[in-house]
Symmetry: C3
Subunit: 347 residues, 3 copies
Amino acid sequence: MKILRFLLIFVPISIVGEWMHFSPTLMFVLAALAIIPLAGVMGEATEEISFYAGPRIGGFLNATFGNATELIIAFFAIKAGLFEVVKASIAGSVIGNILLVLGASMLVGGIKFKSQSFNKQSVEVSSSMLLFAVIGLTVPAIFTHTVAADLLNTRYEGLSIIVAVIMFGIYLMSLYFSFYTHKDIYLSESDQAVTPKWSLKKAIIVLIGATVLIGVESELFVAAVEPMTKAIGLSEFFVGIILVPIIGNAAEHSTAIAMAYKNKMDVAVEIAIGSSLQMILFVTPVLIFVSLFFTPMSIVFNEFELVALVLSVLIANRVSSDGESNWLEGVQLLSVYLIIAVSFFIL
Amino acid sequence: MKILRFLLIFVPISIVGEWMHFSPTLMFVLAALAIIPLAGVMGEATEEISFYAGPRIGGFLNATFGNATELIIAFFAIKAGLFEVVKASIAGSVIGNILLVLGASMLVGGIKFKSQSFNKQSVEVSSSMLLFAVIGLTVPAIFTHTVAADLLNTRYEGLSIIVAVIMFGIYLMSLYFSFYTHKDIYLSESDQAVTPKWSLKKAIIVLIGATVLIGVESELFVAAVEPMTKAIGLSEFFVGIILVPIIGNAAEHSTAIAMAYKNKMDVAVEIAIGSSLQMILFVTPVLIFVSLFFTPMSIVFNEFELVALVLSVLIANRVSSDGESNWLEGVQLLSVYLIIAVSFFIL
Amino acid sequence: MKILRFLLIFVPISIVGEWMHFSPTLMFVLAALAIIPLAGVMGEATEEISFYAGPRIGGFLNATFGNATELIIAFFAIKAGLFEVVKASIAGSVIGNILLVLGASMLVGGIKFKSQSFNKQSVEVSSSMLLFAVIGLTVPAIFTHTVAADLLNTRYEGLSIIVAVIMFGIYLMSLYFSFYTHKDIYLSESDQAVTPKWSLKKAIIVLIGATVLIGVESELFVAAVEPMTKAIGLSEFFVGIILVPIIGNAAEHSTAIAMAYKNKMDVAVEIAIGSSLQMILFVTPVLIFVSLFFTPMSIVFNEFELVALVLSVLIANRVSSDGESNWLEGVQLLSVYLIIAVSFFIL
């Protein structure tokens, strides 16, 4: 969304702020406001490059770099040892996509159109994959939560790596599925007619520049989390599960809502569910692998995160099963998100 | 159901009994037997008034006063501080509607007709709202069950009120949805041809009379709960989750079964699921608000209630998703209810 | 599958091994390898007899003796007091059928055929029965896990027997449903043209012989479990939940996969879900009843088993709801099974 571009002004402001030793709370806000438009620019550049790369490689690039911002923020958070923030932000990204993004899309679209329909078939593939992926994530967590803690430290790590490898394997196979064996399910006429607006060179330069700047801002952002939470009394958990996902996904969120407003509910649903799926099958294993170079992070989520994940996925499956949406469904999704956010904030 | 009217004889009997200091166990039974027909009379009077009020206001009256009996019983239970009975009766009403009422309707209807179908579309709206509503109720419960108890007392109340406000907001919006923006989904030809049997004056007098008498009987009933449970060794929890909902819903139950027997499965399913939905979105928040005038009641259900709620709602969604029912489905719903009731009775 | 017949050589080998006091680990493997083909032969003999018995009695025989091998193994395990192995093997059989058998069928079938469809209607009856059955099993477990342990010992037994009676009652009614009132749902043309290959006398003799030998081998197998687990450090729980079901169901597994390969996905799905259903509604109550002659076994499963059961059943319902399968769905089911198996193995 181009409307977010004016926020790019916060890129130089936040860098100046770091140099002038602004307070952590202010730096947290400035870095967050800088990341939002950068994520949008990176998404645009990836899309441009993918036009030149042809539908297969292009689709792969779009799919793989779709959550790059969350990946970069999480990378610096792992480096800083903020494992709880990282895991909360993975769960929060799924919850936010299913409840906040989908809810807002259905509400905004539903106010304009009485009822909006979307292609059940492709959404069902994604939402049932999401169910399996979350179940795969739930199993090791339940095991470890009920087994004595001292036994775990030694065996934790091995199980996390195995599960991460399985998840990543499914991710690769799902790309093979959607770009080779079953690509017809995903054919959408709307994407075909578009031509690139940028030259390939420009797109590559913009992508590299945006990535570097997101890296810089993420480092500022992560460095501000701990002192900021102490200063104003927010929990790190709340930052991870609510704030990080909103910042990392703002560009995608606004695209999904704009699509719903144009009655392209298919695209809005696919963004919300597809992005959730990628968080679990791609971002999570990559972060587990990356953490092996610093301190190994386990793949085990806490009870809050698990319950929120499982409930969100049940809702996603319920919503997708009838292939239709209206404003009341949007209100309900947003209400569940609101209840979750308020509970995390209060407790 | 007119057949229950002869039970009205228990209204004077129970009042005489109170005056003659009958034993609590006897008073419990007499008041229960008096409430059942009064609830039926109140329902009939509401329906008559709604004919005069026109379809919109009438629909609103029917929807809002549909669970008036439970609301009145719960009011006196809150006044008496029997919070566990109140919360158990909310959960029990949902479980009873989904498993007992729907199960009995499907069994009775299924014995007469090989297969009965109902309108999937309107049932799916209700059953998916029910899923969201129960999830909304589950979230604060899970948070509070896992957080240290001393932290809670101070913050409990605020969270309960916020969740109650959100629930009540969804309730108002769902009325707007079903009576304004999407009223065509609910149009059912069978309701249109009916004309009122009573004069408006008679209907209003009957409604007021029934409400007053239900109030009197509920006070007798609630007063008998504690001494009765001590005398015969039943748990208050069993009274709340099994007995109160059966008494409060008997009139509706018999209507649903009669409708199923006439092959109007649509109406039977709508009574069961709609009534459950109202318990959560209307009765529960109202009781939370009412409790603020006495001792504030939290919206947090215990594990048994939550599990029973979530499982019932999953079943409701499963059953409604194919738009068909048969006797075996009825037997299965009743069996799950039987297992729950026996477990609560034994433990 | 005739291909497994060469394994019959392990019947004499294992008996000789017992006589020569082979090590428990070796005896465990030999008895397991002997049971696999015997189960196949027993299945074949039952099928032959059912041709002579006509469709109704034949269908009943096939349904009831379908899990005879698991029943016999469990009988000897109960006699030996290995309750944990028995209960783990019930849960493991359901998990194995839904995830391993269905997953392998969908993968093998999906590699040959791009998309395979099956009759949604009959599968939905089975999968929703499975949901109700598992919920019925979950309720007493949740109650007992949260109530003080000393209260339980006295009341446990009664509740288990009541739940077992209800389950068995549903089983009998489901037979009445599928062979009398709604037999048309299950009519499958493929079964009609087949004629018996064996004489009735031969079939009966083979059935008796196979049953006796399975009994002998099961006794050897069960006797080896405890010393074997101690010798090589496997948990009895892992043996129950992973190994016993694979051994007991190997014959059925290979049939389901072969059917999927022939594009008869209907049959493959029905084997997997129907067999799971039978484990819960028929095998479990029978084992509870049988245990009354030795030491009464409770029907209460542990948390791992419950979570694995509930998740498998949610997956079964999700998978069956669209009436189609492809290779990626197969891979996902197998992945969830793999994660469960690895977790059980490591922890």
